[in-house]
Symmetry: C2
Subunit: 408 residues, 2 copies
Amino acid sequence: MALIVQKYGGTSVGTTERIKNVAKRIARFQKEGHQLVIVVSAMTGETNRLIGLAKDIQASPDPRELDVVVSTGEQVTIGLLSMALMEQGLKARSYTGPQVRILTDNTHTKARILKIDEDRIRQDLDEGHVVVVAGFQGVDEAGNITTLGRGGSDTTGVALAAALHADECQIYTDVDGVYTTDPRIVPEARKLDRITFEEMLEMASLGSKVLQIRSVEFAGKYKVKLRVLSSFQEDGEGTLITVEEDSSMEQPIISGIAFNRDEAKLTVLGVPDRPGIAYQILGPIADANLDVDMIIQNVGHDGTTDFSFTVNRSEFDKARGVLEEVKAHIGAREVVGDKGICKVSAVGVGMRSHPGVASKMFRTLAEEGINIQMISTSEIKISVVLDEKYLELAVRVLHKAFELDHAN
Amino acid sequence: MALIVQKYGGTSVGTTERIKNVAKRIARFQKEGHQLVIVVSAMTGETNRLIGLAKDIQASPDPRELDVVVSTGEQVTIGLLSMALMEQGLKARSYTGPQVRILTDNTHTKARILKIDEDRIRQDLDEGHVVVVAGFQGVDEAGNITTLGRGGSDTTGVALAAALHADECQIYTDVDGVYTTDPRIVPEARKLDRITFEEMLEMASLGSKVLQIRSVEFAGKYKVKLRVLSSFQEDGEGTLITVEEDSSMEQPIISGIAFNRDEAKLTVLGVPDRPGIAYQILGPIADANLDVDMIIQNVGHDGTTDFSFTVNRSEFDKARGVLEEVKAHIGAREVVGDKGICKVSAVGVGMRSHPGVASKMFRTLAEEGINIQMISTSEIKISVVLDEKYLELAVRVLHKAFELDHAN
């Protein structure tokens, strides 16, 4: 008997029919003798409908009240799924985030989980219940309803698996696993049987469609065995995200090609090249709650340097505004930006022991006449910023160059 | 400066536009210097949508899980209204029933309020906030979400007014007050400026469209000054529901003609006429959680009697099933029922000091050839059960006979 946490996303529970199907799947698992905790998202479209109502009233909805409104989406699903489980003859009981209680900090719309009381869940499991928990939500110390931000249901699943020391956390979604790249761009893309946490983290942009990145970090930190599966397929092992590199087989050099079209580039030109300048630029950006992705500072000349970074495209205008103020303060020359970019990355733990990956990547792009605007590397990833018009082409040629279309 | 609890029903908050209008109205009250606690229902149609989803999954939805699902309706409204109040420049904060905390018993879908913690609300009020509370819902001792049943938002409003010792509880709805009878049946029906709690209770069936009957009981018990108003009219005093009879003016004999088409009649024929028989019949009915309205037992003859009562039409089949079992147990002859009935009542505290109301009522109906099936009287009400086809006719002739179309 294993204790399994399963998370079903919005499309998996998008209609009452689909909720019934999920209940049948859960019933089969229970018959195998497993204890089950189920985490669910809001039904497809529901979160957007609720945000739409809020924006009808406030252009920038108050974060506390937005959480009150949006958290109802998951609450509806837990009740409906519990009913569907009872129709399958199972004992089931639902809990909202506040009921569990999933304690978070008080950063509304982007809260972080601090602690989970697992006593009540464990008692229900011991009494033979399937426990159904609302994803994406929690409660702060003062009793206010909080949400974890988009995709937070994955994080709820992993956090529950960690708190309960579950044997596995299964994320059911509308894809059957993690692919070498997006099959809509490269039809030859292959499903990976396993991938390491580190790679999955680097594949963030691909992962964002499959797994919320924070949930992967969480799973890595607490050593939760995480598996991505399709809720629309009967069989299939999905992709297992593991702590260890698989030493029993030859590692491929590259596991996948990730990309992201939601980025924008900002550069501060003519920055005085003195200690502390990076902090003076990025401090105000962080204070404004803006997430920064790639950061690049070239060696300076003439006592000044250029400082570039990328942000989420939706936050470009806000970030630019912050930089204009910073510019005057630090005595920089100019702030320039570009929303028409994309980021493409080659990811793989294998590159640790295989030099030459970077040069192969650059050569492949050069052969297609694709200009590289920025480069950033980590131990297991090489990312380049390109004009967004090259995205599909770059992904296709890199996928082929690293032979990702051949099973290993 | 007064402390006012205002309750806005589903049609008053049926769209985001209407929510904005409610916020403007509240802003005007606040400018007058009042402290305000606002109770809201779910947006029109939302509760039915949610029940529909539940019934897609379970023909008889599990009560605990139904409460989890349905309570989201009001939760959406409190968030949206709080945002709209902020847009009006007010400080606002929303609370769900569990957050307040509105403690109830654990009778899911029909819970009763046991206790309200008013500390947090009072602190918010003192800090200048408008406090927005979800109607209809609460939490039991074990932390489960409960709902108070249809119309329970009125009860939430009155209970909060009682707990906070508010100066007035205003129920905003789509009608501008309590009428002598339903204007859709009698166009000459007049709005009453005031009505006593006792009369309002007896006018239950009319009141059910305006005020939930339990909220009136609650208001009477805790001496809450209750007023019914239209949320679509700028001015208007509505109808005040008072504890005292107004001694300064001549009481009309009858305040209104109430009616109810949702009843059904059940009769147990040939019941052995012995002590305890009423309990033996109605005990199992109460155990099955069925509400009984009129109860009539005639004097017996030949050692047996006939026992009749009315129930909500939707519970007729269930009640009949219970009676068939009771029949065998107590040795009665037969159970007969009729779903095609209605109840019409003349209500007024004035009838205490005016004999002859009953005979006038019976004569009026007889002149129209309307047969009376059952009669039940209280100190301030005379109710008759009629074939439902006579409902409109009976209401019209009684409204005229008691001169309710003339202002007093």
